[in-house]
Symmetry: C2
Subunit: 411 residues, 2 copies
């Protein structure tokens, strides 16, 4: 069998460790004698259509290794939806043409839900036209909402940042005798995995007092009652919420008015759901409030990455390459948990067709019966994922990131 080349791309929202998976694919490919050359495509699938492809063999090996703790997507990202090839095969023909020119025999796509769908479509097309190229997905998403893998790379580092930051915030707000009701908004529209992660802060100090996920209907009156009780007891309260929390009728709490009722006029809110809720607390309970949105650092706080997460992300990329060399195709690299204590995972793969377009929600046994707290079962699940400390700070005290020269190939 003649040697073929590797092409790898990244897609979707970046994470702290999506570049670690990239390093796994790149370093393993570059070290293999079964591979002709190694290419990276800029800005995902769109970069194949635009022919913006770089020759990774020309990058500095040290810089490639630094990818292990460099946030964001070194190869750029894109949000582009491929049509079905049955409806329109223009893009697919172009992809095949580019792959032929570069002698690509192994394609890797690192991404979340939508990216696995893209990956699956390309694989289906290649099978349909009998084109000789393995297609492999490598999972990433801070949201942890991909099915058929115990967890997704990116999630561990994200909740490591979130839990520690919430612990620090709780420490901070506890210093006044009469403090504030502080509401922290966490990413997560449909699944509350990231918000559940704030529970790990309880291992540091006493927060958060209440935790609300989209998986359980949010009841305003019960919420206000709980906040009032906690504040009267402690002189402060810390509540963490998912951006996507909804009431029992499915209305987003983000659309509520300051009175705490559904805003029939649909007024645009400038802030997020945390600032909507703090307004309601202040109007209804007359308590001082503060809203905090953790925002982008949730997916790029590389200075607080989990070494476990980095290593798993790397190995998922590496294994995708090794499985591909064995001829496996149309799969996504995945993690299977062997045990939580001691923590042990097995590297495996699952069918792309089964992964694409499904969402894994937080199971109900991780959520307390009244829907306002997280159980110890979740702690057991999540704690191993943030383990292992690693620093990417230089002597100046600043984070150090990989830099690529990006030698574009002419097709």
């Amino acid at each position: 069998m003649s040697k073929k080349s590797v092409l790898v791309g990244q897609s979707g929202g970046p994470t702290t460790v999506i570049n670690a998976s990239l390093a796994g694919v790149l370093e393993t490919s570059l070290a293999s004698d079964k591979i002709e050359n190694v290419y990276g495509v800029m800005n995902g699938i769109k970069g194949i259509l635009d022919e913006t492809i770089i020759d990774v063999s020309k990058e500095d090996k040290d810089e490639i290794h630094k990818l292990l703790n460099t946030p964001s997507s070194m190869l750029g990202s894109v949000r582009y939806k491929l049509p079905s090839y049955l409806d329109d095969d223009t893009d697919y023909k172009k992809i095949k043409e580019v792959f032929e020119k570069l002698n690509i025999g192994h394609f890797f796509y690192i991404g979340g839900n939508d990216s696995m769908d893209t990956c699956n479509k390309i694989n289906e097309y290649f099978k349909h036209i009998n084109f000789d190229c393995t297609v492999f997905g490598v999972p990433k998403t801070v949201d942890n909402d991909l099915i058929l893998t115990d967890h997704t790379p990116g999630y561990g580092s994200s909740i490591k940042f979130i839990a520690n930051t919430v612990a620090e915030i709780y420490q901070d707000i506890s210093c006044y005798k009469k403090g504030k009701v502080t509401i922290v908004e966490i990413m997560g529209r449909d699944a509350g995995w990231l918000t559940a992660g704030t529970k790990l802060a309880s291992l540091v100090n006493n927060g958060p007092d209440l935790i609300y996920l989209p998986e359980v209907a949010f009841d305003m009156e019960s919420f206000l009652e709980k906040v009032d009780t906690i504040y009267k007891q402690k002189g402060h309260a810390l509540i963490t919420i998912s951006e996507g929390i909804r009431d029992s009728e499915g209305n987003y709490i983000l659309t509520y008015s300051a009175s705490g009722a559904k805003d029939e006029f649909g007024h645009m809110q400038l802030g997020g759901v945390a600032s909507v809720l703090t307004n309601i607390v202040s109007t209804r309970l007359h308590l001082p409030t503060r809203s905090i949105e953790l925002n982008l650092p949730q997916r790029c706080a590389s200075h607080l990455a989990s070494l476990t997460d980095i290593e798993e992300a790397y190995n998922l990329g590496k294994n995708a390459l090794l499985f591909s060399l064995d001829g496996v195709s149309g799969k996504m690299s995945a993690l299977e948990r062997v045990s939580s204590n001691p923590y042990e995972v097995k590297y495996t793969y699952v069918d792309l067709t089964r992964v694409a377009n499904s969402v894994k929600e937080v199971p109900l046994n991780y959520i307390s019966k009244d829907g306002s707290q997280i159980t110890n079962e979740f702690i057991e699940y999540a704690l191993p994922l943030i383990k292992g400390n690693i620093s990417n700070l230089d002597d100046n005290g600043l984070v150090k990131f990989a830099k690529f020269n990006k030698n574009f190939v002419k097709l």
Copy 2:
């Protein structure tokens, strides 16, 4: 001379290293054979009036040492303004009574501007009634706006978090070909020291594109023009701003409407100034935007503390104690810079009367002529302050904080 006891309190907004100064006072007092006992007052000056005072000699020595990297104020905080004793000496008489009961001969107050004012008032009263007790201020404030000290403890750790987070955000937002105009809001109502700190991120990658401080009048049209040019060039833009930026007439930009003009109706804005500005960018330039408020983590992100900052905070507390034992009183512990490269400081003290109620702004040679960037002179000033990396993460990957038993004394 008979031995006297030490009393120490904390006040104002907490910082990442205000507890390191506390550790400096406590460890040095506990180790000294010239001191009878060591007390801590809860919630600042209010705790003296309320008689909520703990016996620090009964705390675990390891926990006291952990204060070096524990954010927030272990002794709690308060916002309480003492009247002038000439108007009303009730509080002052109570303070003297408590000090006599506990045989306090050395009082230390760790805080910012207002706390130095409190400290000064107590010192003036003690001089007035000829009460034998030294009074010493220990500076803290992330705002870096105290005069007569090269910088304030808390500032270095704060900009270490801010600069690294902005670098990570810049890395994240650069991954799309057509990204967003991202505006990051930083603490600082009257002084732009913290926002200036975002310039250190430029040593990591290419951000921030524009930096605006309250020291220079903000011009909306020139801002919009610059954002438009940068976005057209790069496909994204990162702007950092102080919460207190104002126009040439002194109006806060926070009060502007979505059209970019001063909002004559004074509509309440839910978000902060970053969300006001992103609305204007979106209305006027039709560009996609995102606003980020770094919020409380700016003053409590202990996991990213600067070792230089921790050591200086500790030494300022320690030296306050040593100076007091020499009979010095009515002063604030201070830092004098000997040189920036190599970085060297001298520990000294300054008159409390001169420090209280003044604000140190960012000097104009640290700001570019057009007011939209920060100069290299600032980098030279600020870079040494974030140096030295130290971790307070445990084996689980979670921050570890000091815990006090708090044995309250009966008076």
